[in-house]
Symmetry: C2
Amino acid sequence: MEKPGSILLTILRDGQRSLWDILSRWPYSIRELRETLERLHAEGWIERSGDRWVEIRLTERGREASRALVGVEDEGGACPACEGKGIRLPEAWWRRFRELTEERPLPVAEYDQGFMRPEDAVARVAFMHRMGDVADREIVLIGDDDLVSVALAVTGLPRRIVVIDVDERLGAFIERANREQGFAIEFRPLDIRRPLPPDLTQRFDVFVTDPVETVPGFELFLSRAAASLRGRYAAGYFGLTTLEASLSKWHRLQQLVLRMNFVITDVLRDFSLYPERENRWERFYASYAMMSLFHIEGHLPDRDWYRSSFFRIEAVAPPQPTILGECALSETELYFDEETLATPRAGVS
Amino acid sequence: MEKPGSILLTILRDGQRSLWDILSRWPYSIRELRETLERLHAEGWIERSGDRWVEIRLTERGREASRALVGVEDEGGACPACEGKGIRLPEAWWRRFRELTEERPLPVAEYDQGFMRPEDAVARVAFMHRMGDVADREIVLIGDDDLVSVALAVTGLPRRIVVIDVDERLGAFIERANREQGFAIEFRPLDIRRPLPPDLTQRFDVFVTDPVETVPGFELFLSRAAASLRGRYAAGYFGLTTLEASLSKWHRLQQLVLRMNFVITDVLRDFSLYPERENRWERFYASYAMMSLFHIEGHLPDRDWYRSSFFRIEAVAPPQPTILGECALSETELYFDEETLATPRAGVS
């Protein structure tokens, strides 16, 4: 059996699971899960609750096959101390960050927002610090609904922190944090379909971004990020899911990364988890393409499942953005392709 | 100051350090360390013991500059439980592997051998298992001086394990392990400058290799590895240092990876440490180009310093080796370039 199929049998080995539970362990795209479920169903390995992919279990044939998969531990084998991140989470940074971001703005669908767990944002900063990319560095955040800017400011280490974001609510939140905490985070409202202004071009040692996961969207984010950097040795960090970006898409995105003169120095799997409850984005689900694809309208997640891997890249020569001027892409072209099945349609709020 | 320089000042902030100690923390190539040392020396930031780069310390000017680098913790911030690997090390596998490999063959210079710590070989297997690439898989090791084949066999999980190596001593060791432990590891003596025989071509789900770190050498190893795999979803694992492969070289190697239809799914920094004492390769050092480059002939390491990062790649389409037939490269072309400064010249034994 092909690998996706055997992974699915392994996940189901210990009994029935919800689609969300399967998704939380699934290493490929949502679209490939749909294809694998359909194929295994047609071949008689699994069954579901009626027409819907709400709950999935093995058939007798599937149970027999899965019994041959002896010895595979279910829970993976990630280090329990760091949840597989390899990082010691600095408690003081985490506590302060959590406190400061308690009243953060909730995500808005039209910007495809959604924030990771506070500990994951702080772990990003801790990892960046370990790589020498925090202390004394000038750092730009291209999009910042995770408020990594605040997590960076909490450390007191960067020389400069600039946030570029289209969402003015973030600007207001950051302004208040600056006032109340004595931070000096600069906020610059900008739709990144416009080029960076000259005073933000070739000015930074480090960028952090969570790009849109379509190929044209990623290319645009990475181009703006590349344009922001000083040159060789500058580093970039971004998150990328396997859920809405298949490994075939990763392949194209990595070609873009290399073409822009970056090398991939670190890829940390499933570094960030996006908590359902805190994001309160139940209202978004109705507009996700995946809901009708799996026939699960109205069945909201029973657990956190959306996660992303964390990339570090470094410039081996002056970064070469492939998009330089205005970008004429429509919102639809920017945000949607056939794999972005958990991205909200604008107008949901 | 450019990043390599500021990293060096940070490393030296707490006092004099040996070259080996600096190398154990240095994230760039040995050659770039030499260049950075020379530059910082010429500019008056650091001083050394006479003509030799044996011990290095900051000058008064360097100390002042480094005092501005407040707050940077020295020891990185790796998770202490897993040393930054993110993996729970299965104790039983480790104990058994250590026991079995106690009398392993010592490295031979002409094959550019050297083995990682036993816990790091087992951590490789644990990570591979977490990725679904051990249980029930057919796995080929291209070169196996780390004896990852034995670590795999200890788990009892793979369906098939094949070792391809030019060193018949490894074959004898594996044969004995098979006999005494009931393993079924297959050993196939082969110089990988020859193509894989048909019965090893397109036969495997997973490869593991530690390629030579020249560009032509890497291309050859990766081509043979690619030829061994079944097709899409097959996975590959390899180690790569930053010490003998600069990030500029990584950039070229990653282009090769993508060109052969692989995507990079994981990069785990400094996953493997190569222990000086157990490898007993003191005799190799005299032939390392780095010894004369740093004028440190006769000064052997006071600590383990050589380490490699661990890559996982996955085929997004049938792998396309760029080298198919016989490879006419000489040993020198295969093993040496201007960055391979800690690779022994053949004839040292």
